[in-house]
Symmetry: C2
Subunit: 330 residues, 2 copies
């Protein structure tokens, strides 16, 4: 289905052969996610080149013609006309494969991936469900590292293949660093937990902050207000940058504009970070079928930080896919 | 130290500015491994561009000049002369950064990374130690997935930041697929476990196969003989391809040439797969200071597979860095 649409778009853009290298794009189009370098050539007769040891898996999981990947020359022989290439193609691959052809960088597949099918949303929801129940079964005590270990174990047991990204358990002063991952420090409040599961190759991405003091609560309420109002304005036709502005303005009104040091969110799917970017630079309009995160935060240098993140399905209005409370009683 | 050597090599190769994007290469040169897109420009006055939220970490962990990454134009202004680029630079970054310059694809940093310092070997050994003791503390029963979950939990608790790659626990007929990762099947013998820890950004990579029947033992002994003999020939000056040939010939002598469907090994360090490749295509010579894996395997379609993998430090002869027995009594 998707494959046929992509081929139509290729024809419209005068692309004869599209070279697909990103594993997520190959997974999207064939159902098979390669673990080693594989090359999908989309054209009237598409073919997936994959190393010998992945041929059985590829044949079982995809409906496409499979050939053994032996050399770049073998692939080159099956290319014709104008080549479409992904913007993530490396310079070295470009030189090996594309030097004798006209090429055009295209985001046909990424553009198609922006809008999620019902099945894709189902997989994202299942990943969220695994992640949430795993946190609720985790004993939030001991070191940051021990909490992350237990949380990841719980997700694994529920058949998440791996964490969707490096799990963050950042507590006390470390919560003021948005990308702090984990340390061997004992937990202190607040505790920022930012974690995700993977189901059927689809990711979840959620953040909760466990607070204690009055000052924590004050900041928590500001972040929560920013998140709620940003989620409320989400609907088809609204600019991504406007959602960012709504969250940023509220945090600014309370005097914390300089403490919100990242963008408000991002698309979510086969990758943790996809289009659109919910940031001031993304002028694209939200569309029905997108799945995005909304994750404002305030980071007070040398003290602590608070972030709250949920996953939103853009329908006629916004639908929050998370079920978990914002304030956790640990 | 390394940085100075790289600058010298750049001068010799008439490269004025080297653009470093690979996180592993940035970690190698600065001690700081970025979690978001960062750009290191090596030149007489080197500078690392990193997003606002990583500036504190970058400053704390590296001794290099840090600037906030705001736009590609900002980076472009600090480039001069002939640019060196990594072969993994993407076509889109190339167009944004390099269009107005002469460029040369170079592997200066990867080449330097081939030879490990004592500190690097120490980190790899520590990663191996974590991985081995974690497996020995794992209860090898239940489903493949449960074993992987427990193994990864144990590594986490011992402060491995994450699995070095997707953990493989492939049992019964699934052991015949070299890249099978895990399933929710209950364990059957043989069980191939291929796993790694990460310490200080350095990876381990080991495989053990737990066997039961006579047929398993027969195949196990062939693989073990191939591995031992391949390890024995390792010394400086020997071609990587020769080590592959030694392992392959022995497996061939027993009639299983077609069942050894991957290369014999690879370099190991900040990445799980580095140069050299221990395969018939790599004619480069082993050098003192390399760290490589040796991992022959036999995969009998529809029946089972056996793989044994250890990490070798190339000194005057070969030194096996693993301490774990080849045959495990589970």
């Amino acid at each position: 289905m998707e494959l046929k649409e992509i081929l139509n778009t290729m024809h419209q853009e005068d692309i004869d052969s599209l070279i697909v290298l990103k594993p997520e794009n190959i997974a999207y189009l064939t159902g098979f996610k390669p673990t080693t370098s594989s090359v999908l050539i989309l054209k009237d007769e598409s073919v997936l080149f994959t190393p010998k040891m992945e041929i059985d898996d590829a044949s079982a999981q995809s409906g496409i013609q499979i050939e053994e990947l032996k050399s770049m020359d073998g692939i080159k022989k099956c290319l014709k006309g104008t080549l479409g290439i992904e913007d993530s193609m490396t310079v070295s691959t470009y030189k090996k494969l594309c030097n004798d052809f006209e090429t055009e960088v295209t985001d046909i597949i990424e553009s198609s991936r922006i809008l999620k099918s019902d099945d894709e949303v189902k997989s994202i929801k299942k990943a969220i469900e695994i992640a949430e129940s795993s946190l609720l079964n985790t004993d939030i005590s001991g070191t940051e590292n021990k909490v992350a270990a237990e949380l990841e174990y719980n997700m694994r047991i529920k058949e998440s293949m791996k964490p969707a990204f490096e799990t963050i358990v950042a507590s006390g002063i470390r919560s003021s660093l948005p990308h702090a991952t984990v340390s061997s420090h004992n937990l202190e409040k607040p505790v920022v937990v930012d974690w995700g599961a993977v189901w059927n190759n689809y990711c979840s991405d959620t953040t909760r902050t466990i607070i204690e003091s009055e000052k924590h609560t004050e900041i928590f309420e500001i972040v929560l207000e920013a998140q709620k109002k940003a989620i409320k304005v989400i609907k088809p036709g609204i600019k991504a940058s406007y959602v960012d502005k709504v969250a940023r303005d509220i945090i600014g009104e309370y005097g914390y504009a300089d403490s919100f040091i990242h963008s408000t969110g991002h698309g979510l799917g086969l990758e943790v970070h996809e289009k659109p970017s919910i940031s001031k630079n993304d002028q694209s309009k939200l569309q029905k079928g997108m799945v995005i995160t909304v994750e404002p935060g305030i980071y007070i240098k040398g003290e602590f930080g608070v972030r709250i993140e949920d996953v939103i399905h853009v329908k006629n209005r916004s639908t929050v896919l998370n079920k978990m409370k914002k304030k956790l009683d640990f």
